[in-house]
Amino acid sequence: MLEISRIRKHYDGQLLLDDISFSVGESETVCLLGPSGGGKSTLLRIIAGLEEMESGRVLWDGQDISDVPAHSRRFGLMFQDYALFPHMSVSQNIAFGLRMQNVETGEIQKRVAEALELVNMPRFGGRRVTDLSGGEQQRIALARALVARPRLLMLDEPLGALDRALREQLSADLWQVLDRMDIPVIYVTHDQQEAFAFADRMLILHDGRILQSGTPQEIYSRPVTPWLAEFMGHRNAINGEVVSLQPLQIQTECGLLECGRAFGQPAIGKKVTLVLPADAARVADRSKNLLRAQVCRAQFQGAGYSVEFRLANGQEMAFFFPEALPAGKQVTLSIRPQAILCYA
Amino acid sequence: MKKYLLLGVMILAVALCACKAEPAALTVMTHDSFVVSDDVIAQFEKENNVKVNFLLSGDAGSALNRAILSKDAPVADVLYGVDNTFLSRALDEGVYEAYASPLLSRIPDEFKLDPQNRALPVDYGDVCINYEKAYFQQHNLAIPQSFEDLTKPEYTGMLVTENPATSSTGLAFLLATIAEYGPDGYLGYWQRLKDNGLVVVNDWNTAYYTNFSGSTGKGAQPMVVSYGTSPAVEVVYAEKKLDESPTASLVGRNMCFRQIEFVGILKGTKQRALAEKFVDFMLDKAFQEDIPMNMFMFPANSNAALPREFTDYVQVPEQPAALAPEAIGQNRDSWIEAWRQLILQ
């Protein structure tokens, strides 16, 4: 369906998008994840035809649409601040796209009512958009983007401006609506939880490049760089030196750790970074891959506890346990070798 | 947006239609004080089968400037309104073609300042000090009889005049003092006027309507440099019928400067014959008798009859100030500059 090919763009003299290529399949939801200011919104605007690219192509069903102006692409885009027209009522906002398509008045009324129904705001049609709350505005913006029946829907941080409770509530609603629409969606966010919730596939945009692409599970369990590992929420990192290649063994300040496989080219004596996922530790159930640690505190998280440890070298790490461990206790942790991420 | 554009175009179109083209036309360049009665012009147009266009170009100086700037390709056929203060500039720049109109015989020689008849006198008037009669009566003040009288303490702060650099009346009054005191003495006189509380403003409007006590403006000065005909105009344009003018002129020796206005055929005209006819027409009786009540100047043609308002309310100075146009032309700029140095310091 949508195919993006080698898009480049500078902004303020800096390379913002460097050779970006990817595609979005029919009724696929692709999450574009990356830190704020990383060019995600710019990329959306380029796909929408709102901004010029320096080189590259945008294709739809194999046809180059790079020169098609934004208003003829039929790509819906929902903005982070919703961009509702302040001089129009809720209904007028939603009807806007239909009017642009010269849909007849009766049909417009019907579809606006349906759209309001879809976002659970049936009686809001006559309201002023400036009188709406953030969540209401978000839903109207969604209704406005959807009612015009775009070929592709792009959402730019759709939940970004909302508070947490509202975000969780609307996240579920949004998922339902998107699921029902059955069109390709590009969902931009900087929040990995949000991406996990929506994505069929995730694209990580970092330093102007697509760093990794894959299912949420793939990316979470095998992030390709230490930076991405941290961005995915893996906070436990420790440095070490390769002492053996078969099996791959790393000498750290706190003990010898064996890993499944490594990113990059490990060699004897090479410095590497190990990332230990939070679910990779047990209390000494093996004889190797042991770390001596002291429990600092256990934080209740509903399904279990996040337990913070202090290692022998003074470094702190947190692992997930189904039950609490008493603070101050010295324990030996064993780490699952296949879970350890080793970056050479 | 289209709507606005369309609106603009329509308005322009309407305006265009308002000034439709005419076939045979004579263009007369003049100043914006020029006024003539409809029927007088209509008569000329009918007799000569011509349409007369008037090109009004600011004041007399401005009109002359335009004639000079366009002298290589004149935009008009006749230039009317250059007076004796600007005459030498017009003659030096060579904007006129000579034309000895037969009607010159009816005009007194004192007005014929150009012996080659490039500029022909049409009308004249005096720039005089006007005073508010009531003020002088109420305060039992004697009417000043001479320039010297104006420097006396009883008239302190009573005279307002105009800046000669920005006003033609101001310039005329300056020239009158030069005629009286000579190029070497006039600055001394102005110094004494200044010491006696002379008020100077930039234009006739302000002098008459803001400073002069005899006008609606009820200003502070009972004497103003204006025209000899102003008292008559006060009667003509009074709100109610008046038997007597509220103002009068000071007409002592050299106290009034006589402005003479000229007409001439612009060099390079393609309608010399018509232009000659128009000059003759301006010097002839019908036009000449139309001058007083329209432009409030005296006709140069001595056969022209004067209206009652002129004979009743206008005082004519016996000895108006006069300076040769060449002297004015040569020295005017430096006289004005010296005056500005002295008065505006």
Binding site: A48, R144, A145 | A15, G61, T166, G219, F296
Partner: protein, 562 residues
Amino acid sequence: MNRRRAGRPALWLLPLAFLLVFYFYPLGRVLALSFSQWVSKGLAGWNWAVVRDAVGFTLYQAALSTLLTVLLGLPAAYLFARFQFRGKEFLRVATTLPFILPTVVVAAGFNALIGPRGWLNLLLMGAFHLAQPPIAIQNTLAAILLAHVFYNLSIVIRTVAAAWEGIDARLENAARTLGASPFRVLHEVTLPLLRPAILSALLLVFLFDFTSFGVILMMGGPQFTTLEVEIYIQTMQFLNLPLAGLLALIQLAFCMLITGTLIGTGRSMDVPLMPRVRQENLRGARGFTEKIFVVGLSAFLIILLVLPLLALTAQAFFIQSEAGGWHFSLTFFRQLFLNPRSSIFYVPPITALRNSLLYALAASSLALVLGMLVALGASSNSRLNRWLDWLVMLPLGTSAVTFGLALFLAFGMSVSAPRWYPLLIPLAHALIALPFVLRLIEPALRSIPPNLKWAAATLGASPRRVWREVELPIIRRAAATAFVYAFAISLGEFGATSFLTRPDIPTLPIAVYRYLSLPGTLNFGQAMAMAVVLLVVCAASMFLVDRLQLSFNIKEETRKHA
């Protein structure tokens, strides 16, 4: 791709061409003439001291006038932007009226009020038993400043109030709750947000004061010489075109420099704000201090701006009899419909009204269209935008005498010229009004968040429809204000008109001047009556425009309840 970099040339090329043909080409002609004469004749009457003094005083009085106008205008803008009070519409229109009046009429109004025998002076003399009138400002700097404030206060009020209305009062409230005193809120929140509007107002007022002619001439008197006055004298009296050309060039250079600097600083301070379309920031005065503020400031504005208008209006209706008393009469107005002398050029004065309205309608429509084209065409390219902005300001900083001469040299030197020459009047007026239109529309347009336009585009709106459906409705208020100003500028313009007008199709200000070029109570009264007609017409058109805006808002309201 280049399309974006050059803005949209299809849009801005037209206004640029207009400027080139009707401004730069004529100006080039007059400057070329000046300098060819300079070469051939040398600089006669060359006096550096004159030039220096004129430059110095021009800058001095313009800076002082502008400062004073802005200082008085800001509180007034606050009054209009934040408070709802009785008589507000009247006051809004009344503050704009001075703008259209010919100087000669304003001078008469001030004279009737604070002249030596003006009402205010008579009142004070009677009340305090004074021998001399206490207010004596004729031919002083104070008179110049007063007149400049009188004329230009409305620029500050309208420009800044429009922006102020657009600032969400909640922002100010937020700052208050964060512990900022009202003064700090003003200093740290409101003023920074208003800065572009204030700079715009500053720029316009400065240019008006900088090239002011009538006020300096009539209110200031001969001891005050500005560049504009000196250009007039050198051109009209001495026909010293080299010096006049040089002075015009100096004037233009200063104007370019100051305009460029202000536009440069102004541009970096833009903040896009979600536009507020409803008058949701308005409220009644609460508490003693606010009430005092509203009442006091309204009273001040009325005294400063309305009283002189009343004074001249009174002179059109009341006639002093010989006994000294006053009686009411409509004589002057009746006379407006007559042409008693049936003289050529003395068309019934009331037809001057028709001419003025036609010119004003054409000029303001043209200025609005051109202004929108510039604002729109260059909006995507900030450098181009800045250049065009700057070029467009120049006619306002150009001497009317020079410009009149320039138009004559460029277009008046043909035999057919007298016939179509008056058509240049609306064009010249549009040139003078264009900076206003642009200064009002452009900030409004720029403050629209780009997301709104993008959202419309992704919903299928072509650039043209984005303009019609999103941008135009949002800037409607600014556009209406711009139109009113352009209209008022055209109605009141005298300088350029006096060089272009044809005697049989005079405008109202021209007719007023003609009356005042002759003595006689009838002439004076009719001039005042004419000025009153000018006032009424202008006030009526402003009410109409405000009403149109209001009806737009009301429509929104009814939709809400539908």
